[in-house]
């Protein structure tokens, strides 16, 4: 099956920043993304879990964007403007997509 190169960018970020991040990357022209829930995790600030939490403060979300290789830099820069002072974890993976015209 015919596939094309693309990049899969995964951003794990504090839930209260989700809206800002999505607005910023949308403005940077990245209008395709998917948000996944996160149950818990661990990092330099210790372990945490969403269980029983009411406030958004104690949670994170994972945002997955699949973009053409040439657009990844614009996305990363836009994302970074939001993530910079925060704890967001950003990773980029090479991938193949079908229907490349969509990305």
């Amino acid at each position: 099956m015919q596939t094309n190169d693309a990049k899969r960018v995964e951003i794990i970020i504090e839930a209260p920043l989700e809206g800002r991040l999505l607005d910023t990357i949308s403005q940077a022209g990245v209008t395709g993304f998917t948000v996944l829930p996160v149950l818990g995790g661990s990092g330099r600030s210790g372990r945490w879990s969403r269980e029983g939490q009411v406030s958004a403060a104690g949670g994170m979300v994972a945002v997955v964007c699949i973009v053409r290789p040439e657009r990844v830099d614009r996305l990363l820069e836009a994302a970074f403007a939001v993530v910079e002072r925060h704890i967001g974890v950003v990773s980029v993976t090479d991938c193949q997509v079908v229907r490349a015209e969509r990305f």
Partner: protein, 325 residues
């Protein structure tokens, strides 16, 4: 003095306090007991809707006695002032950085609605009346403390950002909107509206509160277990002293406002309580340098249980004593 001990004793064996204790102990012992996030949120929506609605319906029944405006202004002033006291105490009692201290201080200026709800449950058990509009005062006290905290942080050199977007987020925070919205619905539909949904928002209220406090206990216990290392003895002491200081500041204000016995108790409770929903979310956005483990643990893990077990009975007993009740 007698009253204090009798209220405390009565309080300590209430299903509400014991449910919190159960959650706390279970989490400390690393039990797998947990309330799903969605269920906890649903319980909090129920509590906010019910307490807001009942407040509004009570205002519709008894009318405003004119003091609402003064009470709102006083609430805002308390919410703005308390962070300065808290900041001073924190710098004196702990070695927290100025940024961490500012973030913590913001929490204590704001309020905890579950503490408020638990206090109303105790007042109801004791048959003490309060102004229905205290719910509106609670809502008004949520946000001002955030400004004070960010000002303190900015003075300490942290680039705290309070942009328009954050303002919108804070003022239209889900819990504030629901509380005020339900209050208005209650005020508009009045006694008739209350009668229609009474068997949903009044009769099962205390039982729902028990389950919510079970969950709060679990979250607090997990937090305490994981954050023990980051907290000093001084910080713990602060988290017990500060609510008493807040309540002490509120007491003369409440008396000057001419509030009823229950109203006096509730203004003390609001001032004594520390936020764990609106302020933490705002701080994560505006003050990411502050360590969330510190402010969440102090607010939810120390001050909340202190108020629930000892603080509320003290404030209620004082209010009853002074009110001649």
């Amino acid at each position: 003095m007698d009253t204090i001990f009798s209220v405390m004793a009565q309080n300590l064996v209430s299903p509400i306090v014991l449910s919190f204790a159960l959650g706390l102990l279970a989490a400390m012992a690393r039990s797998s007991l947990s309330v799903p996030e969605a269920a906890a949120k649903a319980l909090s929506i129920y509590l906010l809707f019910a307490i807001g609605f009942k407040g509004g319906a009570s205002v519709a029944a008894h009318g405003f006695d004119g003091s609402l405006g003064a009470a709102l202004v006083s609430g805002v002033a308390l919410s703005l002032a308390i962070p300065f006291i808290a900041f001073g105490l924190l710098r004196a009692m702990t070695r927290l950085s100025a940024v961490d201290a500012a973030a913590v201080a913001g929490h204590y200026g704001s309020i905890s609605i579950v503490t408020f709800v638990s206090a109303t449950a105790i007042l109801a058990t004791r048959g003490v009346e309060y102004e229905g509009y205290m719910v509106a005062v609670a809502a008004a006290m949520e946000a001002p403390a955030i400004i004070a905290a960010l000002w303190l942080a900015a003075r300490a050199g942290a680039g705290a950002r309070m942009d328009r977007e954050l303002w919108r987020e804070v003022l239209l925070n889900g819990s504030i909107v629901l509380l005020i919205g339900a209050f208005l619905i209650g005020a508009l539909t009045g006694e008739r509206g209350l009668k229609e949904i009474e068997s949903f928002i009044v009769s099962p209220f205390k039982g729902v509160l028990c389950l919510f406090l079970l969950d709060m206990g679990l979250v607090a216990g997990r937090g305490l277990r994981q954050a023990r290392s980051v907290l000093s003895a001084g910080a713990f002491a602060f988290a017990v002293l500060m609510p008493l200081a807040g309540a002490a500041l509120a007491l003369p204000v409440a008396i000057l406002l001419g509030l009823s016995t229950g109203g006096v108790a509730l203004l003390m409770v609001l001032s004594a309580s520390a936020s764990y929903i609106a302020v933490p979310a705002a701080m994560r956005v505006a003050l990411p340098e502050a360590n969330p483990s510190i402010y969440l643990t102090l607010s939810l893990g120390v001050t909340f249980p202190f108020n629930l077990a000892l603080g509320i009975p003290i404030y209620v007993a004082l209010a009853e004593f002074l009110g001649g009740a």
